[in-house]
Amino acid sequence: MSALLEVNNVSKAFGGVVANQDISLRVNEGEIVGVIGPNGSGKTTLFNSIVGAHPIDGGSIQFRGEELSNLRVPHIARRGLLRTFQQTRIYKQMTCVENMLISVPHQREGLLTMLSAYPQATYDEAYEILEFVGLYAKRNLRAGELSFGQQKLLEFAMALMDKPKMLLLDEPTAGINPTLINGLLDRLQHANRQLGITLLVIEHNMRVMMNLAQRIYCLAHGQLLAEGDPETVRNDHRVVDAYLGGQ
């Protein structure tokens, strides 16, 4: 298994506040890796750094051997590295199926492609993925009218439509009805095993993390605290202290 994503000694500060300090992690192809840590530990900042939402202060980020830290968000996205947002971002005034259609991979864009209509195959693919997340019936509804949980599923579906090599998920189960979490877990695992998408997941829900991730990194106060397989990390006293506020 080769390293798909390699983060080396990445640091990022906002004004005087150091959000990430010397963080290193790696994700191998085909893995599901988790990132945990108390609020404010710098997890989302790390994600933002990886996808290029802001420049980093130091370190390097390599995806499939290519340095990402000089690239901007759209360029990184086109290289197959996508992310979902904590607040769940979708196109609210467009219908679900339209959300899907516009999420096809955008490798090359020229005047001809801009003017072209979508072939039936793309529609079929969109319907298939919507069916997979259980939103097929709502395909012609405006996305803004979906419930919060359904919007999260739509965002996930859109990510799948974009055929990523790797997907960064920021708290995919936050705010979802507990009875629906298992369904989402299954879909995430399907995406990983059947579709071959490597996942890097930020999660607060420990049960989800234990069942999903093969390896876990724990962040606290902007620094990497522990890493290893789920059981080891969960029982690491430093991790417990970080969550419970001990010193």
Binding site: G52, A53, H54, P55, R72, V73
Partner: protein, 300 residues
């Protein structure tokens, strides 16, 4: 552009431009501060700002011409009249757009701007008007630098208004209520502040400040019903450069803009001075944005 060499041959000319610019800038600072106030507190970009200034000038003009009162009295009269107009506008229209998106506020206040522009045109006529304050002119440096006393008086008065405003915002209950609402309207409401009253007062206060500025403009310079938009753009440019909470920045930027305008008018010709102001806004916006884009941010 040949005028440019004149500046080097006769340095006092440069001084003239700087003085004119600063005196003018004092008035811009007032209008800009008012715009920043409404923007920061109510999240409304008030495009009718310039019309409030011009209207204040007309109020001062009409008061003096109709009642024969001293010219300087026009300033408080215009301030009070415009406060009432602003307050009334809030309670009829503005309160409906406070919670909406910025485009709505821009388009709605743009509509108000056109409305008042045309109203003033119909009521007061489309001539350029001014008010003679009766004050003289200073001549310095062999007549190379002339400074109108009216403009200086106007500048000083603008300064006094600014000081009064600052003290008001810092020390009075309403001033504190305004600042609290600007920071967090919901928290302010929970703590018992009537935010509706705060908004009405803020909007009225902004109009009053513009009105006073306009009363100064009509005696130190000239007014015209269609002159409003350029005051609005000037205010917006200054607020973009200085930021929302920064009074010293507003003053400095206002002076800078005033001086830049004078230089532009002198070197490019008076007919291009207005174009310069509008294009300067565009250049500043683009420059700001380019700088932010290097940090992968956008002007918000």
């Amino acid at each position: 552009m040949d005028n440019l060499s004149l500046l080097f041959q006769a340095p006092p000319l440069a001084l003239q431009l700087v003085i004119e610019g600063i005196l003018l800038g004092g008035i811009f600072a007032l209008a800009a501060y008012g715009m920043a106030l409404v923007w920061g507190v109510m999240n409304i970009i008030n495009i009718v700002q310039g019309e409030w200034v011009v209207l204040g000038g007309f109020v001062a003009l009409v008061t003096h011409n109709a009642l024969g009162t001293p010219v300087m009295l026009g300033i408080p009269v215009a301030a009070v009249a415009l406060f009432a107009i602003g307050w009334a506008c809030y309670h009829t229209i503005i309160f409906r757009i406070v919670d909406r998106d910025l485009f709505t506020s821009i388009l709605a206040t743009f509509g108000l701007s056109i409305l008042f522009q045309q109203l003033m045109n119909t009521v007061f006529g489309s001539d350029v008007r001014t008010l003679d304050s009766g004050l003289g002119t200073w001549h310095w440096m062999n007549n190379m630098v002339t400074v109108s006393q009216t403009k200086v008086v106007g500048f000083v008065l603008a300064g006094i208004i600014a000081v009064v405003l600052t003290l008001f915002m810092r020390n009075s209950r309403m001033g504190q209520a305004i600042r609290a609402t600007a920071q967090n309207a919901r928290a302010a409401r929970i703590l018992g502040i009537d935010t509706d009253k705060v908004y009405a007062f803020t909007y009225g206060l902004n109009a009053a400040v513009c009105g006073a500025a306009g009363a100064i403009v009509v005696m130190a310079f000239t007014i015209h019903p269609y002159q409003g938009l350029i005051y609005t753009v000037r205010s917006f440019t200054i607020v973009v450069v200085a930021g929302l909470g920064n009074l010293p920045g507003v003053i400095a930027s206002a002076f800078g803009l005033g001086v830049a305008e004078q230089y532009a008018g002198f070197t490019l010709g008076a007919e291009y001075q207005n174009a310069f102001v509008f294009l300067l806004l565009v250049v500043i916006l683009i420059a700001r944005n380019l700088k932010l884009q290097r940090e992968r941010k956008v002007l918000r």
